[in-house]
Structure formats: structure tokens, C-alpha cells
């Protein structure tokens, strides 16, 4: 299964690569984004860019956004470009196709975050050089990377799940957009609907938990959601149904 999934990853990456190398098809926007996030923001914010607690949420969010920009295409794109039936007629198993597509997208999101973190760190240290190098703490960097991985995984799982039933990429993107709005805005709206006292209690409780515990809860929550969504995508992948869609 690993070998077959890595074959799918290889193919997906070849397609991403060709897309990124073409400025017209997305390479330019990726380059601009990398310049802003990897160079401009770190230079402007200086050491705060490294030391701020917000990076633990910021990079997972950015990586998930990068994943969301391409994952809707994963199955719906194959269907739209008439390559899906040939893929289904191959010897690749259902799980290797689903996992391969998810892993390829996750690598893209995590890769984007890691490259920008590295460029940003270099940019900060050049622009704001101090006697000692400005570095992330091990715990914050570890938490950022793990949460980035899990946020990308969740986003990729949702994307594949939706893309499996969408007949066009556009339809998949629309459904995916709605799902993301529900997922991100839903908890915020629910929170705002609570009474002032309840909100205060929640904030007080969270503050009492401390940074490490909050990160661990976030890891557990994202892991659970990812497992559910990926299991759903695997269950939804039915050759007999897909070949007729």
C-alpha cells in the first residue's frame, strides 16, 4: 500500500510542480505569497515574528489554506479531465489512491510552511542581527510543525471527501468553501451566541490550562477529526460508483 500511495504522491507532485513552474497557472501567486510571508513579514515584525505565540495557530492556518487551494481538484479534476476512469482501471487500490492524494496535498501545505519558516528565520536574523541568533523555542517549533501537519491533514481529508462526489472542480471548490466557512465561522458564531458570563468562564478556563495543554488538546482534536474525515473519504471511495459519476 505504501509503495502504491507513494506512486500516487509522485504523480500528484509532478502535476503540482508543472503548475508551480508555470507562472500563469499559479506559480506567480505562490511566489508572491512566499515573498510576503517568508521575507516581508519577518523583516517588518523582527524578533516578534519568531517569539510570538500566535505562530502556533498562524502557520497551521496558512498551510491549511495552501492545501485548500489545490485539494478540491484531487478527484473532481481527474473526473473533469477524463483521467479518473483510467486511474480506477489501474491496479492501484482504493486506499492507495485516497491516501496518496491526501499525502501529496499535506506535503504541499507542510512544505510551504517549513520553507517559509526557514526563509523567514534567515530574513529575521539578517535584518535584525543580534549578538545571539534569533531562534524558535523547541516546544513552540514542535507544536507549530505538528499542528501544521494535522491542520493540513484535516483540510486534505475534507477536500478529498468533498471532491469524490463533485462532478466538476468548480462544484468541489464551492462545496469546499462552504464547508470551510461552516468549520471556521461555526464555532465563532456559537461562541458569540453564548452569554457574557459563559464566554468569560471559557476564557478563564482556557487561560488556566496553559499553552502546552491547549496545544495538546488542539493536537488531539485535529487528530480525531482527521481520522474521522479520512475514514469517511475511504468509505466514500467506491469504484463502481465513481466510474458512473
Amino acid at each position: 500500500m505504501i509503495r502504491d500511495a507513494s506512486t500516487v504522491v509522485w504523480k500528484e507532485w509532478r502535476e503540482f510542480r508543472d503548475q508551480l513552474l508555470s507562472l500563469r497557472r499559479g506559480g506567480l501567486s505562490a511566489l508572491i505569497l512566499a515573498l510576503i510571508l517568508g521575507v516581508v513579514a519577518p523583516v517588518q515584525l523582527g524578533p516578534d515574528w519568531v517569539r510570538s505565540k500566535i505562530i502556533v495557530a498562524y502557520w497551521p492556518f496558512l498551510a491549511a489554506t495552501m492545501v485548500s487551494s489545490l485539494i478540491a481538484d484531487s478527484v473532481a479534476g481527474e473526473r473533469e479531465r477524463h483521467t479518473l476512469e483510467t486511474l480506477l482501471a489501474s491496479r492501484l487500490s482504493d486506499s492507495s489512491i485516497v491516501i496518496g492524494k491526501i499525502v501529496a496535498a499535506v506535503l504541499y501545505g507542510v512544505g510551504f510552511a517549513v520553507v517559509n519558516l526557514a526563509i523567514g528565520l534567515v530574513a529575521v536574523n539578517i535584518a535584525h542581527s543580534q549578538s545571539a541568533p534569533i531562534l524558535f523555542t523547541v516546544q513552540r517549533l514542535s507544536a507549530t510543525l505538528v499542528l501544521t501537519l494535522l491542520a493540513s491533514l484535516l483540510m486534505a481529508g475534507i477536500g478529498v471527501f468533498i471532491s469524490l462526489r463533485a462532478s466538476t472542480v468548480k462544484q468541489a471548490q464551492q462545496a469546499f468553501g462552504i464547508a470551510i466557512i461552516v468549520l471556521t465561522m461555526g464555532p465563532l458564531l456559537a461562541y458569540n451566541a453564548l452569554s457574557y458570563d459563559t464566554r468569560l468562564r471559557i476564557v478563564t478556563r482556557l487561560a488556566a490550562l496553559g499553552e502546552t495543554r491547549i496545544e495538546l488538546y488542539a493536537v488531539a482534536g485535529l487528530t480525531l477529526l482527521s481520522v474521522i474525515v479520512i475514514a469517511g473519504a475511504l468509505a466514500r471511495f467506491r469504484r463502481g460508483k465513481l466510474v458512473l459519476d
Binding site: 502535476e15 479531465r81 483521467t83 476512469e85 483510467t86 482501471a89
Partner: protein, 320 residues
């Protein structure tokens, strides 16, 4: 006695419904190994559905099929491992180069790196595509894409290849080129080819056996010759000089002659089965007619196909 090992495909009572529509209707078919089998039928006849069932992509509603000895319902992955397919669309990744498209499929079928390199070079050279191997496939002509899709289907040296309308949409020159390539490929690779088409001349040139399907039902199966023979009308054409109406009347009166007509010196006869032609030629010569050529008019596969379609219409009491 033949066993399932002698056949690439065995289907028995294969039926597939899509809601109220019956796409395959009790299809019973044996395709021997090592031949090029043509599955002929008009659009919507059930050809593509049959391929999907044989590849284990769709389960039959009733009946069963074995491909390379494996049950299509239970062993889809094993079947797909040993088969190659060019389906309704070429199914190529247009952003990728030809070499990358083949590389992906080689990896998917666990072809070793060394063999992949050799095989990709061999196939691209054979189809005349090697020089453009690094170009994105999206920039290629339809004929080139079809050739590449055929190359992909045989890359892993499958035992059985499904080709669904391989020359569909190609111009005549590309069609002839691809047909020649397919013919050579089948001969050199010793692979069983299951080809669907509604191009009858293509089937006649390529196929060892053909099956005619319509409305999901198999109407006839056999060699192109046997199907043609079943439609032979016993017609004979005699090219002459000096043919007069009274001689035609004499011929018409001969035993075994069902009808005779003349036009521009060509005498066209419909003979009863087994009736000899030689006495008629002798009669013509005795009457002073110069006989230049005598030829039996053979039915084409197209005649046989259209005949079967006509019979089916008659049986259904309707037209197409």
C-alpha cells in the same frame, strides 16, 4: 475439452441494469486467449459497460464473468493487475509529459526501474513519439494521444488489453496508422486484445473473432469470415461484351437462377445455394457473348452487421 484456462474472458448470462435500463442482457461469451476480439455494436449497445464489468469496475446485476480465470466480482484487483486498458477517453495527464505519463503507469504496475526505462523507450520509439517525449501531452494531436494511450495500456506487458473505440475521432490517416500499430503490437506481444468498435473495416482487418452486440444482447459471434458467409447471397457478376436482352432471358430461364439483370454489359445473377456458375458461362459463350470476368460477390462484414441489425429490428418490430 476447453477449460477456463483457454479463455481470456468467459461470461455467462451477464446482465447489468442501470435502473430501468438494461445495459447488458444475459451476455454469454467466450474469448479465447491470444486473439484480437472485436466487440461490434452501435452507440449505447453495451460495449463499454461490458468492459467495465470485465475489469471489475462494475458488478453485474445477474450472471457472472471470469477474466483470466478470476471472478470479476471478487477479484477485480487481480484482474486489473494483469490487464491494460484504453477506455472511452485516452485518460492521459495533459500537464505531464509523455514520459511521465508512462512512468506513472509503470510505477503503478510495479515495473522495475530498469525495465520501465527500456520499455518506455521501446514503446515511444515504436509509435514514433520518442522525439516529443518531454512535451506536455496537452500540446499533442489527438492521434498522438491515442497512440500514447495504447502504449500505456501495454507498458506492463499485460495478458489482456481492453481497447474501447481506439480509433474513435481520428482522421483517416491517423486511423490507418494506429490500426497498423495495433496489428503489429498484437502480433509481437502475443497479448489478447478485446477491442470495441463500430468501425467495421477496422474490425475486419484486425480481428480474429468478432461479436455483435445490440441493446446489451449478443446477436452473433464468430470469425469475420463466418459472419460474412452467413450473409452471402450467392450473387455472381459477369462482365461481358455483346450481351443482348434475349440472352439474358435465356440465362434467367436456366435452373438455379433466381434472378438475372444486365446493366452496361455487366450481368448480375442471384443463384440458388450450390447452383454452379460454369454452365451459365458456357451458355453465354455459345450465344456469342465475350466473357471478360466472372466474380462472386462476397458479403462484407458491414453487410453481415447491417443484416444482423435488420434482423433484430424485424424481431423487435421497429427500426433503429
Amino acid at each position: 475439452m476447453s477449460t477456463s484456462y483457454d479463455f481470456a474472458i468467459r461470461a455467462e448470462g451477464l446482465t447489468r441494469d442501470f435502473g430501468p435500463v438494461r445495459a447488458l442482457d444475459t451476455l454469454t461469451l467466450d474469448v479465447p486467449k491470444g486473439i484480437v476480439f472485436g466487440f461490434l455494436g452501435p452507440n449505447g449497445a453495451g460495449k463499454t459497460t461490458a468492459i467495465r464489468v470485465f475489469l471489475g469496475l462494475l458488478d453485474p446485476t445477474a450472471g457472472h464473468a471470469e477474466v483470466l480465470g478470476y471472478d470479476t466480482k471478487r477479484h477485480g484487483t487481480k484482474i486489473r493487475t494483469r490487464c491494460g486498458a484504453l477506455l472511452e477517453h485516452p485518460g492521459l495527464y495533459e500537464r505531464l509529459s509523455a514520459a511521465d505519463n508512462l512512468e506513472f503507469h509503470g510505477r503503478a504496475w510495479h515495473v522495475s526501474r530498469r525495465e520501465r526505462e527500456d520499455r518506455i523507450r521501446e514503446l515511444l520509439n515504436r509509435f514514433g513519439l520518442w522525439e516529443r517525449r518531454d512535451d506536455p501531452v496537452g500540446t499533442w494531436s489527438r492521434g498522438m494521444k491515442q497512440k500514447l494511450a495504447v502504449a500505456r495500456a501495454v507498458l506492463h506487458r499485460p495478458d489482456l488489453v481492453f481497447l474501447d473505440e481506439p480509433t474513435s475521432g481520428l482522421d483517416p490517416v491517423s486511423t490507418v496508422g494506429l490500426r497498423e500499430d495495433l496489428s503489429a503490437l498484437a502480433a509481437q506481444e502475443g497479448v489478447t486484445v478485446f477491442l470495441t468498435t463500430h468501425n467495421l473495416s477496422e474490425a475486419e482487418r484486425l480481428c480474429t473473432q468478432v461479436g455483435v452486440i445490440r441493446g446489451g444482447r449478443l446477436l452473433a459471434v464468430g470469425s469475420p469470415e463466418s459472419l460474412r458467409a452467413s450473409r452471402d447471397t450467392g450473387r455472381v457478376e459477369i462482365l461481358t461484351h455483346g450481351l443482348l436482352d434475349d440472352v439474358v432471358a435465356l440465362v434467367r430461364a436456366r435452373p438455379g437462377v433466381e434472378s438475372a439483370s444486365a446493366e452496361n454489359g455487366t450481368l448480375t445473377l442471384a443463384l440458388t445455394p450450390g447452383a454452379p456458375t460454369a454452365p451459365i458461362v458456357t451458355l453465354l459463350v455459345e450465344q456469342g457473348v465475350a466473357v471478360e470476368e466472372v466474380r462472386k460477390v462476397r458479403a462484407t462484414l458491414e453487410d453481415a452487421f447491417l443484416g444482423l441489425m435488420g434482423l433484430e429490428d424485424d424481431a423487435n418490430g421497429g427500426g433503429l
